[in-house]
Symmetry: D2
Subunit: 370 residues, 4 copies
Amino acid sequence: MVGGGPGAFIGAVHRLVAEMDREFRLVAGAFSSDPAKSAQTGRELGLDPARVYGSWEEMAAKEAALPEGERIHAVSIVTPNHVHAAPAIEFLNRGFHVICDKPLTTDSKTADAIAAAVKKSGKVFALTHNYTGYPMIREMREIVRGGGIGKLRKVYAEYLQGWLATPLEQTGQKQAGWRTDPARSGPGGSLGDIGTHAFQLAEHVTGLKTARVYGKITSFVAGRAVDDDAMALLEYEGGANGVLCCSQVCVGRENGLRLRVFGETGGVAWDQEHPNDLTVWSADGAPQLRRTGNGYLSAAARSLGRVPPGHPEGYLEAFANIYRAFARRIRGEADGMDDPFPTIEDGLRGVRFIEAVIASAKASDWRPIT
Amino acid sequence: MVGGGPGAFIGAVHRLVAEMDREFRLVAGAFSSDPAKSAQTGRELGLDPARVYGSWEEMAAKEAALPEGERIHAVSIVTPNHVHAAPAIEFLNRGFHVICDKPLTTDSKTADAIAAAVKKSGKVFALTHNYTGYPMIREMREIVRGGGIGKLRKVYAEYLQGWLATPLEQTGQKQAGWRTDPARSGPGGSLGDIGTHAFQLAEHVTGLKTARVYGKITSFVAGRAVDDDAMALLEYEGGANGVLCCSQVCVGRENGLRLRVFGETGGVAWDQEHPNDLTVWSADGAPQLRRTGNGYLSAAARSLGRVPPGHPEGYLEAFANIYRAFARRIRGEADGMDDPFPTIEDGLRGVRFIEAVIASAKASDWRPIT
Amino acid sequence: MVGGGPGAFIGAVHRLVAEMDREFRLVAGAFSSDPAKSAQTGRELGLDPARVYGSWEEMAAKEAALPEGERIHAVSIVTPNHVHAAPAIEFLNRGFHVICDKPLTTDSKTADAIAAAVKKSGKVFALTHNYTGYPMIREMREIVRGGGIGKLRKVYAEYLQGWLATPLEQTGQKQAGWRTDPARSGPGGSLGDIGTHAFQLAEHVTGLKTARVYGKITSFVAGRAVDDDAMALLEYEGGANGVLCCSQVCVGRENGLRLRVFGETGGVAWDQEHPNDLTVWSADGAPQLRRTGNGYLSAAARSLGRVPPGHPEGYLEAFANIYRAFARRIRGEADGMDDPFPTIEDGLRGVRFIEAVIASAKASDWRPIT
Amino acid sequence: MVGGGPGAFIGAVHRLVAEMDREFRLVAGAFSSDPAKSAQTGRELGLDPARVYGSWEEMAAKEAALPEGERIHAVSIVTPNHVHAAPAIEFLNRGFHVICDKPLTTDSKTADAIAAAVKKSGKVFALTHNYTGYPMIREMREIVRGGGIGKLRKVYAEYLQGWLATPLEQTGQKQAGWRTDPARSGPGGSLGDIGTHAFQLAEHVTGLKTARVYGKITSFVAGRAVDDDAMALLEYEGGANGVLCCSQVCVGRENGLRLRVFGETGGVAWDQEHPNDLTVWSADGAPQLRRTGNGYLSAAARSLGRVPPGHPEGYLEAFANIYRAFARRIRGEADGMDDPFPTIEDGLRGVRFIEAVIASAKASDWRPIT
């Protein structure tokens, strides 16, 4: 693991979910750019001190130098956004598989560089748009892509949080600090942190490509250097359209990622905070409330569950599904998912989405997503 | 009553709710432009045939000619949008109070003419944006306008239906027919029919004025002459912003009018399909689920209920609250609502909203709402 | 109307719903046993003072003496439970149709006397177990009686309120006063006031007859002379069983009437506080969420709605459905409901249910409901 | 681990959750009474074949013979109910900590024997009534035991499933097989499998002791040798009472464990299928909807979460909380929970609950729980 030192949230999540299905075992890490902090985290995790490194450069070099069978198989990159590209490229170049947090990176140019490294290396690269790991997102995708709601017309995507409604970054809170610092997060604030999740999920579920966007971004909190709120009208290739809203100033909202899609003959709706429920509308019949784990679901959705119906699966299980699929792909095994996890392509589109919304808002005009 | 003949939906609703609180009694009407149909409806309603008229012009003239105490006190106009202005002006001019369905009319020019007639007449004019009659909308307004969620930042308004997902107007269905005919509905389809409700409700609850809009409108159903779907980014005076979505092609959605408002210290959310529930978020405490009829509500919200908590009140009761307030205003009585019902001003803004969104969509640029 | 004077809750509800569909018009009443209060209510309602009576005996005699066509058609009895029987019998005997609040009366003996009067008179007698008027209760009944969930196994009925969690009757509150006074309410407190609703609804929906009960009753509030909480195990003829809970001391619960029924191949669930939703489970498919007003409902359920899907109908509309069916039965018209309203038979069973639960609790043994 | 071989459900769950927080690592097991199957499971799990045993007797003897530091620290017993007592006693006697699935065992006599072994050994014994591990159950307990709803009056506990609505055991399904075989499950069917969960949870949350029960048990499926449905009226010490319903024939219900508790000044409600929500009612204010992970929760409830608010935690995380607390207790560390997990005492009461309900149903009389 690269990143995930003291005070990190997402690093701890990655560690837990990577090991949930016994697919991976954490054996080495460069947990912080501060060697002392890296060592501290390594100790807390009970790792062999010889494999707790003071920098990711050192880790890449020394792990690559270990005999085959003793070195790591894959690296998990969970640093702030501006420290994704360099280690990803380095580990890929040294022949390691990479699983990287989102958004891919801070700008298109470095994104393209990562993509080139992925291609050249032939290694597996996964991006942890973890919400795609939910069974009911998978069911939604099966329905929508399988023609279950007809030709698509409307996409409503939103991701509303409230935790940045005050200038939390001025209190020294680490999570808020890097997420509101453009040098570390990139040009997008809420756009990069959560907007990219909503954007990716909409394309993942529908199979539609977003042709162009009209964006409006706002920094509601005084002194904040990045957006803490954004809205974008969306036009998809083929005629569907929609809207995407993301915000981190909606007081009281926890992690409100919702997606609704409507086609000519039906609709589907999902809410991340009650992730085991999926509402399905049809033109003539009563709405259905499909639930995780049941035999009436698609095989793909069933394959992502671990426990029987009515035993709620949550955020961590969905996230672990990404790691499980990553492991299977490394082994070359089949998986219940045709695209077992978000890839470099999702990452490229996410970075371009951020750039397009910001450019659109600046120009007060539509911008394409290439 | 003017309008509300055979096959009408909203006319029957108006009749029921006008009488619910024994404030009004239907005694006369011009129910259709076809005298035979008007007479048929009058017979079905058990009215005195002498007061069932073949046209609204005849009705206005003959009722005005009756001795005081025998003539109607007020007229309810429930015709398609293009037949609001002329009868409204005529009845106002003849000294009758008017309660009129929404949107006010089809264009700004005739809207201004009605406004002038209202002013000149000194009579009471109410517009049936009926959703303002819900107790929990009133509670929401009390909270928001009373500073309960702080300075406002975000407004999310949506009104999604699915009943026009197919070319229903081509089957002879009367409701679909006039609503999709620009000659009768005006230039807005979904915008006029339901978008104006969402727009009005957002301003009603927040007290904010919409400064400008950026709109996108779509006619998804082939051959449809008006929009059946619209989205608009909104900027409010004072710095808040938001988004409004309306659609009549969201298959499976019934009457999905929802409003969420967030300020610096809290948020509120309401869904018309479960209208007795109001979610209230604050920065520090647990979310509240306020419910109609309880003692912890504001006096204004309590005044709009008829039955104890847990006895659901619905669409008809909310609508009847508009008529009850209209009656009280005619009598000059105090009412629990400071603005007892939507007025000509709401009507003017609604027409300008329709025009601004369409103009914006055409120009691909923001347009003010004056 | 008999009863419904100053401070009454249910009387005002009856007046509103009786007139909602223009089937009835209130023209006469004996609103209180105190003639001055009766006159006051009559004035407030704008009635002809000549037809506002000082007692129900006077009203029955004088109305009967009016020429046919000028006298009332039917009487609505909305007094406390101990004043149901005498006026009901008197009005029936004088040839008037009767619609009476529940429970029918305070004991089996007077219940039988009313039943005899109904039979002898040949007049229509309706009991306002108003919850049967909800469209989704009707849908539930159609499903269950139509075999849609197979042979029945389980019934879970509950009716939980919290408004009597404190000794409200000691504060002079009128509603609490008579409901907790066995001389006026009969031997059942919560059992009579709300338990009979749950009992009746369960039999109404399932078509099952309750064979015997095992009851436990409690008076949680010190000094209360009747139960404020009861539970009963139920055995139905044919092998199904279940449980019924009613309580008026569940703090925070408003009007929590819920019914769930399970059979060999499916289940259904309904909650009065969100009455437009009905959950339907089947053995193999996804749960359905059926909603009022939709074309996929049974004709019977559709016939009980007034507005399109998504326009919530509530307690008053459901109650009005009872009056509308009562009117149609008086006219001998067909109605969408095979049993258009609860009848004397429901009333008899309700009284026997109260008596059986109390006797069972006293004896700590099962008691039949004959 | 003892048990958890091919086809087992709960064994796989125990393995996953035991390792979730890196507190335990599975190193040895006797996974089946069939040595070949045990070996197969060991291979699938990648264990050292030397520590995969053909019987739990062998495992206990050989692990105890290993040098300290090389032997297991604790054993997880996940066999059918009739194979809990013997291995538990044996491993306790040999000085191992034990964590055992519920119900404790099949009868009071063997339950007492386990209790004696626990006492004599001085080792930590945990019973996996896993639902106590949910953060919102912990919050509920803090509220109720902290006096937040006043003196307790009512408890409504239910646990409804539908998976045994047909004779599934006749198809060879392993889970259904042993659960409906009294030789393996003990005398209780649904009572033991899920009724004990509801019973334990109610006492856990309230701190009340159930004084006596009146039960009714049913085997709805023809030929089934144990109950598949039960109901019990409950009387608690101190005056509260309630009802407990469990069923495995409620078609469509997945894992419907719900608990509601009401006191003199408030109430609380929780539903396992949406476990991150807790409804809290008070006498005067609006209901609260408390949610996992928030700062407004009690410290105890917060300590049981792993991720921020809005990131759903589910069944596996709650279960893992039991294992984490078990590990901390073994190490003698403080934990956020005063009772970090259900103990032998919960187990004893569960067995007595099963026996009391069955005896009560047989005698048609109340039975104490000693």
